[in-house]
């Protein structure tokens, strides 16, 4: 019976560890985005903006700041064909990542958090 209880505790413990292992440590204050780059933040399972404007046909940096201890990322979706030209790393905050996004042809895209699909917005490459 004791062994059983230990096994149950081990399962719950493993889950706790798994839940914590993907959380990034605070990486300090995010850098100031360079010109031609874009930035976005997530807090309380909401993005701080609904629209991102980026240059077309040019690779750019996307600064993503996750301000809470919940897993988030930014992925870019082409609604015309459902493909995802860019999927950013999922990580727990507080912390930030500087995503290197490949060049996107001019047009309107959607961006979203892959973990929380209700977190989304529009990205315009122009």
């Amino acid at each position: 019976m004791r062994r059983l209880a230990a096994r149950c505790l081990a399962i719950v413990g493993l889950a706790c560890l798994a839940a914590c292992s993907t959380s990034a440590q605070a990486d300090g204050p995010p850098p100031i985005p360079a010109s031609g780059s874009a930035s976005i933040a997530a807090d309380r399972s909401t993005f701080d903006r609904e629209r991102l404007d980026v240059p077309a046909d040019t690779a750019f940096q996307l600064l993503f700041e996750n301000r809470e201890g919940v897993l988030h990322n930014v992925a870019i979706v082409d609604p015309a064909n459902g493909t995802t030209p860019f999927v950013g790393e999922i990580f727990g905050g507080p912390g930030w990542r500087m995503y290197q996004v490949p060049a996107l042809p001019g047009g309107t895209y959607a961006f979203r958090c892959d973990v929380h699909l209700e977190m989304s917005g529009t990205l315009v490459a122009d």
Binding site: M1, L14, A18, T22, V70, L71, D114
Partner: protein, 140 residues
């Protein structure tokens, strides 16, 4: 018949082990979903937690444990289905799916041991369906 008798007998070590593992797995996946934040994951976590408690609770829950078992089975299958359709693919999600698949296997094993498999469940369901009619006609 054996399924009905079994519940009245002393629980065997294997039955206790399976039940503990089911509750542990349900609580583990509840914890993981709670850590993801957002309304949907929070509701999912609450669902797993309530069903885990119902799997352990004595009293009226014990008599209808087969229903709780079925509800947890359906809830877990729906969660996996939802993830396959819309879910993100990342490390924690894969760990959670492994726990949920283990949970489904354990629930099926317990369903066979405690309820006598699908035929036993069907018998219990027929009995349950007849019960309100019988009490209604008795009152009339």
């Amino acid at each position: 018949m054996t399924a009905g008798l079994r519940s009245a007998e002393q629980p065997r070590a294997m039955d206790v082990a399976i039940r503990c593992a089911i509750i542990g797995a349900a609580l583990a996946t509840s914890l993981i979903h709670a850590s993801l934040g957002g309304a949907l994951f929070t509701m999912n976590a609450a669902g797993y937690a309530v069903l885990a408690v119902a799997m352990a609770a004595p009293g009226p829950f014990a008599a209808e444990r087969w229903l709780v078992r079925l509800a947890l089975l359906g809830f877990t299958a729906a969660t996996i289905g939802g993830w396959l359709l819309f879910g993100a693919r990342f490390e924690l999600a894969y760990i959670d799916k492994v726990i949920e698949i283990v949970l489904i296997v354990l629930l099926i094993v317990e369903l066979w041991r405690q309820d006598g498999g699908p035929s036993g469940i069907a018998r219990r369901a027929r009995h349950l369906a007849r019960r309100p009619v019988a009490s209604g006609s008795a009152r009339a």
